[in-house]
Symmetry: C2
Subunit: 106 residues, 2 copies
DNA sequence: TTGCTCCTCACGTCACGTGAGGTGGC
DNA sequence: TTGCTCCTCACGTCACGTGAGGTGGC
């Protein structure tokens, strides 16, 4: 698939994929006769995984360490991320309460 | 109070206050005989307010429109922010569930 | 002169957004 | 030549972080 096709089917931007390449997370599998960048199935799967990790709050540099890591390492990282997400949820709860207090005082 | 004193008492960094000044959110009330930047009580209160709005997720440009706005405008902005925070909370709930699913599948 | 504290730039960060300028085949 | 799609830079974004280089009084 060309870059455009990958972007459309996976819902990522051209610039994001470019960013992943710069970070060393993915590599184009080649170019077609017109010089268009091509990505194979494995690379597309990697891009999907990267997007998923990003949604979970991992940074690019963390994903770099995670994407080719053994399952147990991934599992532990995910468990830590769940703890972090729970903290985030707590913070948001507190902020909602705080904002509501201020609203009532106005 | 000097910049250092403001930073220590309010828990902000020198660079953050500098950023607020650049954005036009606050202005130093003057300089002392040594050329140190000074901030009066009103300015310190503004900095506190800015930090609070930032915690609630407002961006600097939004705070610029909010900090001198009438109470009703602030109230409405806060109500919208609460809605947004609730959406954020939902997203995090979903992410926690998703991460836990992945963990179970490993 | 050394040491301390402050000042004002100004580049770096992060993950892209948003063009700019150039190429290749119809 | 025009029009289209792609390419590869490269500056811009956001709210500061992190120095660099210079000043003033002990």
């Amino acid at each position: 698939m060309t870059l455009r096709e990958v972007c459309n089917t996976l819902g990522v931007t051209r610039r994001a994929v470019q960013g992943y390449e710069k970070a060393g997370l993915v590599v184009a599998s080649g170019k077609n006769e017109r010089g268009y960048l091509l990505y194979d199935g494995k690379t597309q799967a990697r891009i999907k995984t990267i997007k998923l990790y990003q949604r979970l709050g991992f940074k690019i540099i963390q994903i770099k360490d995670l994407i080719d890591a053994p399952k147990e390492v991934v599992k532990q990282a995910l468990e830590e991320q769940v703890d972090w997400l729970k903290c985030e949820r707590e913070s948001i709860e507190d902020l909602i309460a705080l904002a509501n207090e201020i609203i009532r005082s106005i």
